[in-house]
């Protein structure tokens, strides 16, 4: 098509058209992005509310499915389990202590006569349980050996034999305190 507009004006028009095209395309792109973001936000909130709705329905359905009899049985089982757990807690250390006492008795020589055992469980977490043994040793040497043998038992953490135990050389009345590993 013939156009007798001067060349510089034709070039200026082309530039102006390009400028307008970029502005319109940019604005269009911006609007599309805004539109897509809007859609994404709507989808997010819709999905979120639906998720909450389904969760509520699900928990309601579970509650509805459980009859009062079921609930009683569940409560009973839970109660029994708790009791068993408590029993296990008490029973286990006791059986361990019995074994330890048996071992202590096994280790003593004939010169040692044990008069009493006292087991004390400490409530505090950091404190070890203790067994206090009182008895009579024919010789000081026998008592010393007995103390050494006790220290060799792996379950025993510490053996406290006061100096008063060794004042007499024969027919020694002793008092030994044993700290047990946890």
């Amino acid at each position: 098509m013939i156009n007798l507009l001067p060349l510089e004006n034709k070039k200026a028009l082309k530039k102006e058209y390009l400028r307008r095209f970029i502005i319109v395309a940019g604005a269009g792109l911006f609007l599309i992005i805004i539109f897509l973001l809007l859609i994404a936000v709507i989808i997010f909130f819709t999905a979120n509310s639906q998720k909450r709705l389904y969760e509520e329905r699900f928990s309601f359905a579970i509650k509805k499915l459980r009859s009062p009899e079921d609930q009683e049985i569940i409560n009973f089982i839970s109660d029994v389990n708790s009791k068993i757990s408590n029993l296990n807690q008490y029973q286990k250390p006791k059986s361990d202590i019995s074994q330890l006492i048996e071992e202590i008795i096994y280790l003593k020589s004939d010169d040692i006569k044990i008069n009493s055992f006292l087991y004390q469980a400490n409530g505090e977490k950091d404190d070890a349980d203790t067994i206090t043994i009182t008895g009579l040793s024919k010789t000081r040497r026998s008592l010393s050996d007995f103390s050494d043998n006790l220290r060799k038992i792996p379950e025993i953490k510490d053996v406290v034999s006061p100096i008063s135990n060794f004042l007499r050389s024969e027919n020694v009345e002793f008092n030994i305190s044993i700290k047990i590993n946890e």
Binding site: M1, I2, N3, L4, L5, P6, L7, N9, L13, Y17, R20, F21, I23, V24
Partner: protein, 357 residues
Amino acid sequence: MFLKWVLNAIPIPDYLSMPAIGIDLSDRSLKFVQFSQKRGNLTVSGFGSRIIPKGFIESGEIHQKENFIKFLKSLKKELKINFINVALPEEKAFLSRIVLPFLKEEEIRDALELQLEEHIPLSVENAIFDFEIIGMRNNNSLLVNLSAMPKNLIENYRDVFVAAGMLPLTFEIESQALARAVIPQGNKESVLLIDFGAARVTSAIIENNKIHFTSTIHIGGDDLTLTLSKDLSLDFSEAEEIKRTKGLIKKKGNEKIFDSLLPIIAAVKDEIKKHILYWDSRMSGDEESDVLKKIIICGGGANLLGLPEYLSYELKLPVERANPWVNIVSFEEKIPEIEYKESLIYATALGLVLKSL
């Protein structure tokens, strides 16, 4: 089809499409047509004409620049227009058909610059020209239509429009815009197009929707009215009314009117005959052109009763009044906003608007 549907659904914003109004300028008047497009339908959103005060433009050249700028500013204020397609005065244009060896399109301009002065009476420095390739010749050369106008004339028009706040998108010669409006798209016949204006008659030969030749004579509809007014001792408006109602029809009671109008119409006819002879002589040469199939007349003078019949009888060719809506709207689908007789006056402006659509 799909693209049309998409464009209807999401129309290109005006900011980007830069819709322009068509402005047809002559020494005495400025005619404009404005279109708008809604849901794919073209609608005339404004049209009109303004009388340009005498002396602003003479023989196509702007003589009173400042006054003309004021005149255009008032028009811009009224119409709120930013972009315009303008038809420049035909008599200042030079048209030439040039044969060039095969060249790339960007090289054609350089080639034309070198030989411009061989084809038009203007130097390269003093001319603004453009071209269109109209076909091939003997499969080894290009046929190029060259249009040119004096540089200072175009720059003057550009400057006044820009000063008035209107940005010209196109400057073209009247016949180009006229042909776009009245020759159906795809028509390949050779047609003689006559624009019978108030001050001048322009004829152009169009083939394959391309202009091959134009000529302007300074006789027009106003000369017919003036002659009638002199011969019948009437004032201008009375003579205009008689011209409009009686026309060029020889019947009882109309003899005086017919005899008064005939010499001017005959002069126009003789000029047209010369163009037909010129075209026929090219036919006998080596030009590969078609014979003229018909004459189409438009412009205000085309409304003169009996004119097509007279020209047809004298020139031995079918003559018809133009349909400026032929490429815009089908009369079966819609009645145009501008009445048919009036639309003949706005044919050039309609063609200018069509360029932007």
